[in-house]
Amino acid sequence: MNRHGWREVQRQVRESGAPGGVAILMVAVATAWGGLLLTVHRWVEHDLLGRRQNSSVVAVLRAPDQADSLASALAARPGTLRWTLARPATVRQELAEWFPELATVLLALDEPSFPALLKIEADPAAAGELVAWLAARREVAVVQSSAQWQARVEQALGRVVAVGFVLASVLLAGCFLVVLLVVRLLVLDHADEIAIMRLIGARERDIRLPYVTLGLVLGCTGGLLGVLALAILEMSLRSVLPAIAPEAWVLAAMPLVGAAAGAGGAALGLVAIPREP
């Protein structure tokens, strides 16, 4: 686009006024919200749930003396990475440390009152089979895997993220509509000028490109404001939740998504331009 096109874009940005500001604000909120969702989702999946890490499986034994036979059977299984045996005394000590207010009572109880636990670190792909295998063993009273609660948390998180993205999409669609209306109003306002431009030989692209660029500029500005908002949020949370940090691709995508929504709205708004006879 040449100098005339860019000057026209500047004029249009000024003329878009408050509705243009609303479009920018909507994109900023939509992209910041979307970016926040993606960042939190990643944080929960990778850091909080440790999805990429090994699964933990805990088996409660019926009797402490069965631990050795179970351990030797376990050693022969594939997918079991590491295991440790917590004997009743260790379990009692750990419980007393976890619940210090009950420590006196717990430490006063007999050792046989506590079960022996087998803590197993397993390959996430093999954790399901391992749990089933342990549940079928007569030495095991109860078996629990981190994968089970991870799955429940992920399911809940998935729903929250889906609802969040619907909200972000609604905001982006709103921005699309606002830009569409802004461009449509500008086109109607500039109808005479567009007709003159045609009469003196302007091509369709000379006429339309500044309007599409206006949509792009509004959307991109909103996206950049969204990046700024997310960066401010991250900095303010850094001392509390240092692991939460938006990924580079999320930050890069935010202005692009905003620009696409703005340019799309502008392109549709240009339908209002009358055609040549």
Partner: protein
């Protein structure tokens, strides 16, 4: 132009006009108000299509021409509109350089040619003014500068002296004639008989949409 008919809402504006204008000719188009002069010109720069008949301008058959060719065709014309048709939101300089930018000329060349065109019209000091800040006569001269700056093959002028004083009107006609001497075809629509008498040339006379006379000057 061959048997061209144009009507608006059933009211005929042009009735079967047939005429031929040679390359490099200077022609006046005259007639009373409502005779169809402006319609005649609008058909020539393809702002409208005829209801019937055929119009060929500079080798382009206007009714058959695809839409995408229209801008190329119009850039070969210099049209001076009765109501100036300046771009109100752009400065005088931008009004001129905009048409030059359509040829993808370098920025410096655009500015140089825009300055020279405005200087020719005595408006070199109004480059940064908006059209609404100019008088009617000045706006007319900007419109003329814009039409001439592309050195078109054909100039269509609709009442070009309408907003100029007599002296400026005659200066403009001299300018158009000098451009015509260099090979550019010029068609001037005017109802100013004095202008035609002062600059005699082939004259087409329209009356109620019909071509009633095609002769040199106005003298019978």
């Amino acid at each position: 132009m061959e048997a061209v008919v144009k009507s608006y809402h059933g009211r005929p504006a042009l009735r079967g006009i047939t005429t031929h204008i040679e390359r490099s000719e200077f022609v006046f188009l005259t007639g009373p108000s409502g005779a169809g002069k402006s319609t005649f010109l609008r058909l020539l720069y393809r702002a409208e299509l005829p209801d019937a008949g055929r119009i060929v301008v500079d080798g382009f058959d206007l009714a058959e021409m695809p839409r995408r060719q229209i801008p190329d065709f119009r850039r070969r014309l210099g049209v001076i509109f009765q109501d100036f048709k300046l771009l109100r939101r752009r400065t005088v300089g931008e009004n001129i350089s905009f048409v030059l930018s359509l040829l993808d000329l370098p920025e410096r060349e655009q500015q140089r040619r825009a300055y020279l065109a405005l200087k020719q019209m005595g408006l070199q000091n109004r480059l940064g003014a908006l059209p609404d800040e100019l008088s009617g006569g000045e706006q007319q001269r900007v419109a003329i500068a814009r039409a001439l700056v592309l050195q078109p093959d054909l100039i269509l002028a609709d009442e070009p002296s309408g907003n100029l004083d007599t002296e400026r009107g005659h200066e403009l006609m001299e300018l158009l004639k000098s451009i015509n001497y260099q090979g550019t075809t010029v068609l001037v629509a005017t109802h100013d008989r004095g202008l035609i008498e002062a600059h005699p040339a082939r004259t087409l006379v329209l009356d109620r949409g019909a071509l009633v006379r095609d002769a040199w000057g106005l003298t019978p």
